[in-house]
C-alpha cells in the first residue's frame, strides 16, 4: 500500500514484444483489388505516438480516388458479389477471420505501434475480437431470413464507412463484417493517424481472394471521409467518431435516402452502490476509464459513488492507480500506453486546466513518463460538480470525474442528465436493485458488475446524442439491410 517507490522494490523489468513485422515504406489505396496510387500523387506520414517516429506513409484520398473506389464497389455489387449466394459469401468472410487469426501477432504489434495502445490490449482484445466479428457475421450470410422474420432480405448496395483511431482494426471489422454478410460492398476509410492495420487488412482481403471491388480501402483525413459520405452512389453511411462530426454527416446527407448509422461520443456513468463488491468495482472503474488511455467512446468517465462508501472507494481506487504501469506500449507489462496524437494530448490538457480552474481536486499516480511521444498519466478528479465541464463533455482521455450521491433515484437522475447515452455501469450486490437501475439508465449498453465488455454477438450503440443504429449481434445486421417500414 506504500505509494512511494524505493530502489529496493521488486520492479518489472521491460518485456518488449519482439516478433518482426512487415510495414512497407509507403501504402497506396486498395481499390478494386489492386494497390492504386492516389490521383494527386500525395502521401502523408503516419507516426508512432509513443516514439514520434515515422512508420510509413499512406495515400491521401482525393474525391477522384473515392469516386474510383465507389465505382469499383458498385461494379462488384452489381456483379460477382451481388449474385453470389449467402453461403459462398459466408465462406469468404470465414477465410478473412482465419487469416486474421493466423497473422494476429503481427496485427497486434502494428496496431500498438501505430496507435499507441498497450500490446496487452491489442493482443488480447482488439485483434482476437476483430477476427471473432468476421467469424460471427460469416455465419449469418446464409441465414439472414431468420434475422428479421417476415421481412424481405435485401442488401443496401455500397456502404461508405468512416472509422476512428481508437480501435482502428476492431472498428474496421465491426463495419466490414456485417456489411459483407448482408451482401453489401464497402468503401472504408481508416482514421488518418491509424491507417496501417486497415491496410494490412486489405492484404488479408486480397489473400482471401474476395472478388475485386468488394472491399475498398481509401486513406486520408476528414475531406476524404466527406467525399465518401457525400458520394451520390453510396447507399449506406456508417460512421464512428465524435458527435460533432456525426451531426455534420447526418446534415450533409439529409437530402438523400442514404441509410445512416452513427456511433458517437459518450460520457458514461459508472455507479457504485453501497453494497457493491468494492474491490471488483474499483477494478471495473479502472478498466472503464484507463483502458486504451480512455480513448473509448463508452469509457466510464463519470464515477458516481454512494456517499457512505466514498472514502473506501477512493483510497482503493488511488491504490490501484498506483499499480498501473505506464509507458512503452510494446512492453507486455504496460497497462496504459501513449496518447494517440499530439492534438488529442492538447485536448486532454485543456480539459485538465478547466477541471482545476473549476475547483476540482486532481490525483495522478507518481510515474515517470517517457520524454519522447505523447503521454498523459491516469487522472482522477474529485470534488466535481455535475455542471462542471469535466463532468459534462467527453474528454476522450484517461481522466475520471468523481461525484457522490445519496439515493438511487438521485443517481439515476444525475446519470441520465446528459445528452449522451452510449453506455453505463452499475455495481450492486442486490439483483432487484441492479436491474431497477440498469432499466432506468438511458444507455444502449449497461454493464452490471462489470465494464467495457464487448462481444460480436452483443449489440452495441447509443441512445440520444450518442448516435443510432446498433453494431454487432443480430440487431446489428439491420443496419445493413433494406427493411421497409
Amino acid at each position: 500500500m506504500a505509494k512511494k517507490k524505493s530502489s529496493s522494490d521488486w520492479e518489472y523489468a521491460s518485456a518488449p514484444e519482439t516478433t518482426a513485422v512487415n510495414i512497407a515504406k509507403r501504402y497506396d489505396h486498395f481499390i478494386n483489388g489492386k494497390w492504386t496510387t492516389p490521383s494527386n500523387k500525395k502521401y502523408f506520414a503516419t507516426t508512432s505516438p509513443s516514439t514520434g517516429r515515422k512508420l510509413s506513409e499512406v495515400a491521401e484520398g482525393s474525391k477522384k480516388d473515392v469516386d474510383t473506389a465507389v465505382k469499383a464497389a458498385r461494379v462488384a455489387y452489381n456483379g460477382a458479389w451481388g449474385k453470389m449466394s449467402g453461403r459462398e459469401r459466408g465462406k469468404y468472410i470465414y477465410r478473412i477471420a482465419r487469416l486474421i487469426q493466423e497473422r494476429a501477432r503481427e496485427f497486434a504489434i502494428i496496431e500498438t505501434m501505430d496507435g499507441g495502445k498497450p500490446i496487452r490490449e491489442s493482443r488480447d482484445i482488439d485483434i482476437p475480437l476483430a477476427a471473432n466479428h468476421f467469424f460471427y457475421n460469416a455465419g449469418w450470410a446464409d441465414k439472414l431470413e431468420y434475422a428479421f422474420p417476415n421481412m424481405p432480405v435485401k442488401s443496401l448496395g455500397v456502404a461508405g464507412q468512416v472509422i476512428p483511431w481508437n480501435f482502428p482494426f476492431l472498428m474496421a471489422a465491426w463495419k466490414i463484417a456485417p456489411a459483407l454478410a448482408t451482401g453489401n460492398t464497402v468503401v472504408l476509410k481508416p482514421a488518418e493517424t491509424t491507417p496501417l492495420t486497415a491496410l494490412k487488412l486489405a492484404e488479408v482481403i486480397a489473400d482471401a481472394g474476395l472478388p475485386d471491388g468488394v472491399v475498398n480501402i481509401v486513406t486520408g483525413a476528414g475531406e476524404t471521409g466527406a467525399a465518401i459520405v457525400n458520394h451520390p452512389d453510396v447507399d449506406k453511411v456508417a460512421f464512428t467518431g465524435s458527435t460533432g462530426v456525426g451531426k455534420l454527416i447526418q446534415k450533409s446527407v439529409a437530402g438523400t435516402d442514404k441509410k445512416i448509422t452513427l456511433e458517437l461520443g459518450g460520457k458514461a456513468a459508472n455507479i457504485i452502490l453501497e453494497d457493491a463488491p468494492i474491490d471488483q468495482a474499483v477494478e471495473g472503474v479502472v478498466n472503464g476509464i484507463y483502458f486504451n488511455q480512455g480513448h473509448v467512446c463508452c469509457a466510464g468517465s463519470r464515477l458516481f459513488v454512494q456517499e457512505n462508501i466514498y472514502d473506501e472507494v477512493m483510497w482503493k481506487l488511488k491504490q490501484r492507480m498506483d499499480t498501473l504501469v505506464i509507458g512503452d506500449p510494446l512492453d507486455k507489462n504496460t497497462d496504459v500506453g501513449a496518447i494517440n496524437s499530439k492534438e488529442q494530448l492538447r485536448t486532454i490538457k485543456r480539459y485538465i486546466k478547466q477541471g482545476l480552474k473549476g475547483g476540482a481536486d486532481m490525483y495522478q499516480p507518481e510515474c515517470d513518463l517517457p520524454i519522447k511521444g505523447n503521454w498523459f498519466p491516469p487522472t482522477v478528479f474529485t470534488n466535481v460538480a455535475q455542471s462542471s465541464i469535466i463532468a459534462k463533455e467527453e474528454i476522450f482521455g484517461p481522466v475520471l470525474a468523481v461525484q457522490t450521491f445519496r439515493t438511487v433515484s438521485e443517481v439515476i437522475e444525475k446519470a441520465n442528465n446528459t445528452p449522451y447515452g452510449l453506455s453505463a455501469g452499475v455495481w450492486c450486490d442486490k439483483g432487484s436493485r441492479l436491474f431497477q437501475v440498469a432499466g432506468a439508465l438511458d444507455a444502449g449498453v449497461v454493464w452490471g458488475n462489470t465494464f467495457n465488455k464487448f462481444d460480436p454477438t452483443s449489440p452495441f450503440g447509443g441512445f440520444k446524442e450518442s448516435g443510432y443504429g446498433r453494431e454487432g449481434g443480430l440487431h446489428g445486421l439491420g443496419a445493413y439491410l433494406d427493411l421497409p417500414l
Partner: protein
C-alpha cells in the same frame, strides 16, 4: 489510511462480510498472470520464492529420517549454486517437531512449522486441539498451522469458529499462528472472504488457503480474495497479517505470479517471508531448475536436483 464508515454499513458481523464477485476476481487474477517477469526481476523473484517456501512433508509415511533430510534441504537448497537463501521454514506433523528442532538447532534461520488441531480434518474436541498445539510449541515449533472447523463454518456457526481460533491462538503463546481455511471446502469466494475475516479478527497471524489434502487447493483467485481481506484489515487497524497459499503451486512461473499479486494488492512490505509463504513440497526444485537455467544458460533436467 481512511476507510470511511464502511464498518457502520456492514459492521463486524461476519454474516455481513463484503460480497465478492467471482467473475471480477477471476478477471483481476488474469491480469496478474499476464505480467511478464524477465531478467533481473525474474532472478530476484525466484530468490524471494525460495526464501518464502515452507518446505513441507505431511505424509502418513513420514519418518524421522525423512524429516531430517527435509531440514537439510531447507538450509542447503542447492550447494552448487552460491548465494541461494534458505527456505522460510519446514512444515511437519507434531510428532516430528522435536526431530526437526534437533536437526536445525536453535540458530537456524529456518523456522519450524507444525500443523496442529488434528490436521487435516480438524474433527476432534477443542481440548485435544489445544493439547496438540501446546505440545507442538513446547517441542520447539515456531509456528502452528491450524485448520478451522469447516463443518461448523458451513452450518453458519461463525462464533464457534472464531472462538476456536482465538483459543488456539492463546495456546500458541509466542508461536505464530497460521489459520488454514481449507478453501476447497468452502464452496464460494464469499465464504472464503468471510472465513478470512473471522480468522483475522480471531487473532491469526497468517491466513492459509489449504491443507494440500484435497484436490482443490491454492489458486490465484482464492488467494486474491484472502489478500483483499488482509488489506482491508490493515487499512482499518494498521495491523499486518501474513498470507500462505498452500497446495498446487509447483511451478516457478506460477509462484512469480503470486508475488506479482502480493505486490500489486498489498505492496512491497509483504514481499518477505515474514508476511508471505508458499506451502509447497515440489516448488523448490522447479525454482532451483529455473535459477540454474539463468546461471548456466542451459535448460535443466530433474535428475540433477535432490528429491527429498
Amino acid at each position: 489510511m481512511k476507510t470511511g464508515n464502511r464498518a457502520s454499513v456492514r459492521g463486524d458481523d461476519f454474516r455481513n462480510s463484503p460480497p465478492v464477485d467471482y467473475v471480477g476476481i477471476v478477471e483481476r487474477a488474469e491480469r496478474f498472470t499476464a505480467r511478464s517477469i524477465k531478467s533481473i526481476t525474474k532472478r530476484a523473484g525466484l530468490n524471494m520464492v525460495l526464501n518464502m517456501i515452507d518446505l513441507t512433508t505431511l505424509e502418513g509415511a513420514d519418518t524421522p529420517n525423512k524429516v531430517r533430510q527435509l531440514c537439510y534441504k531447507a538450509e542447503h537448497l542447492h550447494d552448487s549454486i552460491p548465494g541461494l537463501p534458505t527456505t522460510a521454514a519446514v512444515c511437519v506433523f507434531p510428532p516430528f517437531v522435536k526431530t526437526a528442532r534437533d536437526a536445525l538447532g536453535d540458530k537456524s534461520p529456518v523456522k519450524i512449522a507444525s500443523v496442529a488441531t488434528y490436521f487435516p480434518s480438524g474433527h476432534t474436541t477443542l481440548k485435544s486441539k489445544l493439547e496438540e498445539t501446546k505440545r507442538a510449541v513446547s517441542d520447539g515449533a515456531d509456528e502452528v498451522d491450524m485448520v478451522i472447523s469447516r463443518g461448523r463454518f458451513l452450518s453458519g456457526d461463525y462464533n464457534y469458529v472464531f472462538d476456536e481460533i482465538a483459543a488456539v491462538k492463546e495456546a500458541c503463546g509466542d508461536a505464530r499462528l497460521k489459520v488454514i481455511l481449507e478453501t476447497g471446502e468452502l464452496a464460494t469466494l464469499d465464504n472464503v472472504r468471510r472465513a478470512s475475516d473471522i480468522a483475522i479478527h480471531a487473532g491469526g497471524d497468517f491466513i492459509k488457503t489449504s491443507t494440500g489434502k484435497i484436490a482443490s487447493a491454492a489458486t490465484i483467485p482464492v488467494t486474491l480474495v484472502m489478500l483483499l481481506a488482509i488489506r482491508d484489515h490493515y487499512a482499518k487497524t494498521g495491523k499486518m497479517v501474513g498470507m500462505k497459499p498452500a497446495g498446487g503451486i509447483s511451478k516457478s512461473k506460477l509462484a512469480l505470479h503470486y508475488l506479482v499479486m502480493v505486490k500489486e494488492t498489498l505492496g512491497e512490505k509483504w514481499l518477505t517471508n515474514q508476511w508471505f509463504r508458499f506451502g509447497a513440497s515440489s516448488l523448490a526444485n522447479d525454482v532451483l531448475m529455473q535459477v540454474a537455467k539463468l546461471e548456466s544458460g542451459h535448460y535443466q533436467a530433474a535428475q540433477y536436483f535432490s528429491k527429498d
